[in-house]
Symmetry: C2
Subunit: 528 residues, 2 copies
């Protein structure tokens, strides 16, 4: 039998109650709920500017417009923050595909980003091409000149077995409280790294091969059914690398019949016109837009950040991904400025670019302003986007590393905030629970230990800085809009954005006013 050791003093003492400034929350809610401008921001961003592919003219317009709003509101240090050598800008203005022959009909397809236009209409016979490895290219040598390529095979239609739109209830929120202990993943990680690099190489070589063979255009299958075009990038955006041939993503309902026709031995001819162009000759930097409400006094050098990525894919208008996050982060700043707050710490907003290509804008900003790991020497690691690399030690901290209290991000569509992911930082949980309490009545209740990934708070988290993302109602984010041509204004919930802006403003305020910066996790160790 052992004798229990006495509890450490800090745990034995009664826990301090996290202070919440309810008078300020009342003012924030009043401004957010009754004088909201969040839908004005969203409308301008999506319907006047439109989609904002990184480095496209519209992304530049969004940078300029958001700077203008920040200046109009009297924010400080409003500027675009360049991250180097992203690539060339690109835009498209027309896409049409028609099946010719006995059964003439328009097919619905839209171009992949960074693929060339067709220079007017082109017509060619369709051939099915399946390339899974480099060796597959050989069997098509000499066979693709003047052809339109149908890439891959048909995919069986998958019936929708749950509602398009989903909101959390008590049960699903409770489910998020479970934490999955990560498996030791080194072997798998190496495999995934190798596969990633192989896919990249295969894509590059395939682009070059199609160009060399003189193929006219290529058609690939949308990853979702029901007429939804879900499309990302195709050819390389980098000057000097191959943009490939014109490539479009087609709806399942039109792609599958083409496969069946070819497999039945029929001759299919398509007419295709894509008007698309690179808007730069050489690689250009990308630009984040930043602005702040300066802190003052002893903690004036310290920083709280909020943000969201402003870039989007190109076929919708980037409304849920991530006009919603931008409108909310901008509105949170507008609310705080409208209330004339004088925070102790600086409150800084960042509207990132290059997120869709691998958190590039936020990753580079964090590296230049807070901390980074040394550049890897392993060529396989070096080939990866910085955000996917394994940490190679030691962490190099810059001056502001110790000055940042926290970063709060929004990037899961327009759904209401239902709580926040603590990213395994258990010491922040009672703090966030206290901050959420005055928003329990509008559905924000839940702090969970688990991590969420795939967006800009990860750029902070991976260097050991407190970066967080909110739990949101999913709505139709993963059924209709994520990276699709339906990611448009009408899929946005105005009331949810008002709620999110209030919560984000309040979190920024409380983080800025708190006596201490937020607790941190252990500093990340590089892989041995």
């Amino acid at each position: 039998m052992t004798v229990a050791a006495p509890l450490p003093v800090a745990l034995a003492a009664p826990a301090a109650v996290e202070p919440v400034d309810l008078e300020m929350v009342t003012r924030i809610r009043a401004e957010a709920f009754h004088n909201s401008q969040v839908m004005d921001h969203l409308t301008h961003l999506t319907e006047n500017i439109g989609p904002r592919l990184t480095n496209s003219p519209q992304m530049a317009a969004a940078n300029a417009w958001s700077r203008g709003k920040f200046n109009e509101w009297g924010l400080s240090n409003v500027h675009d923050d360049a991250f180097p050598a992203f690539g060339r800008g690109w835009e498209f203005t027309h896409a049409s595909v028609e099946m010719l022959g006995d059964r003439v009909l328009p097919l619905h397809a839209l171009p992949k980003a960074w693929t060339p236009g067709t220079d007017g209409s082109v017509e060619g016979e369709l051939v099915q091409v399946e390339i899974k490895k480099l060796a597959d290219l050989d069997k098509y040598k000499g066979k693709l000149a003047g052809k339109v390529l149908l890439l891959g095979d048909a995919r069986a239609y998958k019936r929708g077995t749950e509602a398009d739109s989903h909101r959390h209830d008590a049960t699903s929120l409770e489910g998020l409280q479970q934490f999955t202990i990560p498996a030791t993943a080194a072997a798998d990680r190496d495999k995934r790294l190798r596969e990633y690099n192989e896919r990249q190489e295969l894509a590059r070589k395939t682009n070059e091969f199609f160009v060399a063979e003189g193929a006219l255009a290529a058609i690939s299958l949308s990853s979702w059914d029901n007429g939804i075009i879900r499309v990302a990038g195709g050819g390389s955006r980098k000057a000097g690398e191959s943009a490939g041939i014109p490539e479009l993503t087609m709806i399942t309902e039109h792609f599958n019949p083409l496969v069946r026709a070819l497999q039945a031995g029929e001759t299919v001819k398509l007419r295709i016109r894509v008007d698309a162009r690179f808007t730069d000759e050489g690689d250009q930097p990308g630009y984040n837009t930043l602005a702040e409400i300066p802190g003052s006094g002893a903690k004036g050098g310290e920083i709280v950040m909020i943000g969201a990525h402003m870039d989007s894919w190109h076929t919708g208008t980037g409304a849920a991904d991530n006009g919603a996050g931008v409108a909310v982060a901008m509105e949170a700043m507008r609310i705080l400025k409208a209330l004339g707050v004088k925070p102790r710490r600086t409150i800084r907003v960042a509207l990132w670019s290059g997120e869709e290509q691998g958190l590039i804008g936020s990753q580079d900003y964090v590296a230049r302003n807070f901390a980074h790991f040394p550049e890897p020497t392993d060529p396989a690691q070096l080939a990866l986007p910085a955000s996917l690399r394994e940490p190679t030690g030691p962490l190099r901290k810059l001056r502001d590393y110790d000055r940042l209290s926290a970063y709060f991000n929004m990037d899961n569509g327009s759904g209401r905030f239902r709580g926040i992911y603590a990213q395994e930082n258990l010491a922040v949980m009672p703090i966030f629970e206290a901050w959420l309490k005055p928003f329990n009545d509008v559905g924000a209740t839940t702090v969970v230990t688990r991590n969420t990934g795939s967006t800009d708070h990860i750029a902070f988290d991976r260097v050991g800085l407190p970066g967080f993302q909110f739990i949101q109602d999913r709505l139709d984010y993963f059924s209709n809009v994520h990276h699709t041509h339906l990611d448009t204004w009408d899929h946005i919930e105005a009331e949810d954005l008002k709620q999110a802006a209030a919560v984000m403003a309040s979190f920024a305020w409380h983080a800025a006013m708190r006596e201490e910066k937020l607790p941190r996790k252990p500093e990340p160790k590089p892989a041995p």
Copy 2:
């Protein structure tokens, strides 16, 4: 206290058990499940022929192809059955809409049937036009020349709160057992009739007005969200009536932003190109395709019919509506012929046309072959499609009126048969229950008293003939495909069609072999 009357003899005696030929059902199931060709029929109809707008060249191709198959299988009396003066044929081969100006992008829209093409690309400024009554036309006089008209207002996005795809379970089938006693509807019926005729007149006058004013084209809003184009007819198909101006139906996600832009005072310019044409100079008859397996012996002059409409709308390929029904009815005939059956009654299949415009083909066939009410003298009634008219007595019966046992129809998409609607004919229910029993194991279990409408069995039912339609699993019929551009092959369930073909073949067989024709409801009385 009263003394109970003795039960009538027929009820007091034990009910005769409806005979079922299980050996024949076994053979039908074997052919339907293990040697099925139903997907071959469906594939040819939808992917080789394509959509089949009534009187379009593709509808003629479908008539010809189905005749060919019926002849190939050795059916008798294979022929096209003309119904008079449907109107002109029409087809379209291209449709594109682009927003011009600062934000250039392709918009997704498809033309309404029987509207003209644009004769190349046209460009015009967009104006919102709301016409709810004839007097509304005045305010647009002199203002529409060279304009593109945005018809109506935006519609708020409606979130999907149930799964796209639905199959019956015990509870939902049980729910169908409830019958709703019809309200006395005369007053409402008159109102609806008047409104129907007013809408028709408004549409005609509006078409003529837009042409006279020189408007370039019109855009209306799809009735469903999520990028789905749900579109029927626009201009008149009749020679000598106005086809109006080119008119397209646009997805919600692209229509609503146009409304908002105009309402914000912006100038919007569209470029539109529609290639569409009438394929006839004057009105042409429509054509049903019929074929039969002749009966022999004493009941050889009697008839059992099965069928489905072969015409469709024009933007998908008419797969669920109603390629599925056609493939199943054809397959039921193929199965019976393959089994070398010699039925007592003639088994006749009808592939109707003009269904989508008001059951025109079946209605006219029934009138010419079985019975009809005299043509109404009331001009308001006369203006209606025949299938919508009030019966004006007395019913005029033709020779075959007493020779038809029953008509079985399929037209609710590709979902499995779960039972059958008895159309308030309770005497058929034990018969249908017996016939369904050997298909209980594949989900067909339920006979309900209630009526179902909106398709070709109604042409029979309204003159007092036993016309029936099966209960089907809904699948995504009313969420994705009904009259939409997504009504295509991939939304079809092959196994469900095999099951339906077996049930339809067995129902036809048992009706053909039964000692008596099926019991009938009381003969319909004309309105007083």
